[in-house]
């Protein structure tokens, strides 16, 4: 902190004394926070209730059936819920890992090399941001069917690796985090381009790559349309499609509500945990370089 900012902060404090209006923003934000957290708390409480308690006890009182609900859920159709959870982890983890690698290398190349066609390639890749998923999902399904890959893990994994916005973020991050001088020094020492990329640039880009990984992980975890279209065998479903089929089959059977709500609650836990533990990496702007 430099001296001028300190004086500014001091003036803030002095000015603040005359403006006791912090109540309004604080109250508005807390109302927003309550609105956003309420459904999650509600499903946490609902998941603890036994089928009887769900309809009889008051909304915000915990029930006694949580462990029974979890046992029932894992017994449901020979533990298909576990399978969905594992599949989701595979799609989101594997997909985000590959996506991050492709984005980081592409972003680094577009930021640090001058070569014929650079502008064209960048514009084409970025243009992908504006292509709505709807024009892609159906032809992707038909093309995968033709080569016999529809209804396989590949059908969900492969189309989600290329992510134009991640390439854009990686390019911005590479421009800020990888100094040209370091690359030049490496070249003078005789390092090849592959070595510079893998040993110099990539390690410097790790914080930005974590951010890209997280956003892509969540995007794939949350995707519904693509697996819904691609998959027929419920053993390959991710949680989103699994929960949907659970809801579609149990919506008119109140006895199944506990199962659905417990499934919904458990499916939220991994992402919420990831989200709370990785707070400092959830950034929408990578231009300032280092994530502190």
């Amino acid at each position: 902190m430099s001296t001028p900012t300190e004086t500014v902060a001091a003036r803030h404090r002095a000015a603040g004394g005359r403006r006791p209006l912090g109540v309004v923003p604080t109250a508005l934000l807390l109302i927003g926070a309550l609105y956003c957290v309420f459904p999650v708390i509600w499903v946490l409480i609902a998941a603890t209730k036994s089928p009887g308690e769900l309809f009889s006890t008051s909304t915000l009182s915990f029930g006694t059936g949580f462990l029974d609900n979890v046992t029932d859920l894992f017994a449901y159709r020979d533990g298909v819920f576990w399978l969905w959870a594992g599949n989701t982890l595979l799609y989101a983890g594997g997909g985000a890992l590959l996506s991050t690698a492709v984005s980081a290398i592409s972003g680094y190349t577009l930021a640090k090399y001058r070569f014929p066609g650079r502008g064209l390639i960048f514009n084409l890749l970025i243009g992908g941001i504006l292509v709505p998923a709807v024009v892609l999902a159906i032809p992707q399904y038909l093309l995968f069917s033709k080569i016999g890959l529809a209804d396989t893990y590949w059908a969900v994994l492969l189309p989600q690796i290329l992510h134009p916005y991640s390439i854009y973020l990686a390019r911005i991050y590479a421009a800020a985090a990888v100094p040209d001088s370091l690359l030049e020094a490496g070249r003078i020492d005789g390092a090849g381009e592959w070595r510079l990329m893998s040993r110099v640039a990539m390690p410097l880009m790790v914080p930005g790559m974590v951010t890209i990984f997280l956003f892509q992980f969540v995007a794939i975890w949350n995707n519904f349309l693509l697996p819904f279209i691609m998959l027929g065998d419920d053993g390959k479903f991710p949680l989103t499609v699994g929960l949907f089929t659970l809801l579609a089959s149990g919506a008119n059977q109140p006895a199944l509500y506990n199962l659905i709500l417990t499934g919904a609650f458990l499916s939220l836990l991994p992402l919420i945990a990831l989200f709370l533990t990785m707070q400092r990496y959830w950034r929408t702007d990578l231009s300032s370089g280092a994530v502190k």
């Binding site: 900012t5 500014v8 803030h12 603040g16 403006r19 209006l21 912090g22 923003p25 604080t26 508005l28 934000l29 807390l30 927003g32 956003c36 957290v37 999650v40 509600w42 909304t59 492709v102 592409s106 680094y108 190349t109 090399y113 070569f115 390639i121 890749l125 992908g128 709505p132 024009v135 892609l136 159906i138 032809p139 992707q140 038909l142 093309l143 492969l158 290329l162 390439i167 592959w194 969540v218 975890w221 949350n222 519904f224 349309l225 989103t240 929960l243 809801l247 579609a248 109140p254 509500y257 659905i260 499916s267 939220l268 992402l271 919420i272 989200f275 709370l276 707070q279 959830w282 929408t284």
Partner: protein, 294 residues
């Protein structure tokens, strides 16, 4: 070592992205356009080999999509729903971002994390949670408000609420990040001129936020036009949502239920075209308003 020595390396590094782009973006788009211009022609009774042939029909499928009454009803529903979502979601996101940035706020960190939390909830799960909260037999809101949240007219608002809930936090974070990048001295100058916090927010911060607001609006338009997950997930809980509630749901039904790939392809191109026109139209209008006056 000069640039010529790097030779093919940049292209080599970009090969994975270019291959993926070709296979999963360029080829599918081309295939959709191809399908959209074709149709199965049945000759005679449609029996025997060669009685069903795929023929080129030009823009017939587009003409059919544009004159399809069911699809138009879907567009009108999505227009109402989308306007509601965009205005409320982005309005709240802007208000929350400005409040987070205000000088004297308590529990700002808690509120920021809490409002961003729904971003970690998949659309299916979000719709499922709210769907059960709307269900008459379970709804805690019924005690306060005697409304059928899943009725013929209310269901649109209920669905818009799910989208607002899921999207407000992410947009707030984008706007808040942009706000933090504005040099603080600008506010100081305004403050010395006697501007109140509210005036600074409206006259200094909002104009400077314009690029970020444009960005979030364009992305939200693209996402909203393709609404699919929320109405599809809510369908099992109510009979007020038809299988063609949104244009994308009609595309899905055409492609996978009735098996009319050609109509599905044409309709999906229409959806893409409308979302591009709206996005660019919005950009133009805003650019002229915001930057054209000088």
């Amino acid at each position: 070592m000069r640039r010529s020595d790097r030779g093919a390396w940049p292209y080599l590094f970009l090969t994975p992205a270019i291959v993926l782009f070709t296979l999963f973006l360029a080829v599918p788009i081309g295939y959709t356009v191809y399908l959209a211009m074709r149709r199965t022609k049945v000759s005679g009774l449609g029996l025997g080999k060669g009685a069903r042939r795929e023929v080129f029909v030009g823009f017939d499928n587009f003409a059919a999509a544009l004159s399809d009454a069911e699809l138009w009803q879907g567009w009108l529903r999505v227009l109402g729903y989308g306007t509601l979502v965009l205005v409320v979601m982005l309005g709240l996101a802007l208000v929350f971002a400005l409040m987070l940035d205000a000088t004297r706020v308590r529990l700002a960190r808690f509120s920021r994390i809490a409002i961003f939390l729904p971003y970690a909830v998949p659309g299916v799960a979000a719709t499922l949670l709210w769907g059960f909260l709307y269900l008459p037999s379970l709804s805690p809101f019924r005690a306060i408000l005697d409304v059928d949240f899943l009725g013929a007219t209310t269901v649109t608002y209920s669905m818009a609420n799910v989208a607002v809930w899921g999207g407000v936090g992410f947009n707030m974070l984008v706007l808040y990040t942009a706000l933090r990048a504005i040099p603080r001295d600008l506010y100081e100058a305004a403050r010395l001129d006697g501007a109140s916090e509210l005036q600074i927010a409206l006259r200094v911060k909002v104009p400077l936020l314009t690029p970020a607001i444009i960005l979030t609006t364009v992305f939200s338009i693209i996402a909203t036009i393709q609404v699919f997950t929320e109405p599809t997930t809510l369908r099992p809980l109510t009979n007020t949502i038809s299988s063609t509630w949104s244009p994308l749901m009609k595309v899905y039904r055409d492609a996978f239920v009735t098996g009319d790939l050609y109509s599905a392809a044409a309709t999906s191109i229409v959806i893409a075209a409308i979302s591009l026109v709206l996005s660019f139209g919005f950009l133009r209008v805003v650019r002229n308003r915001a930057f054209g006056e000088g």
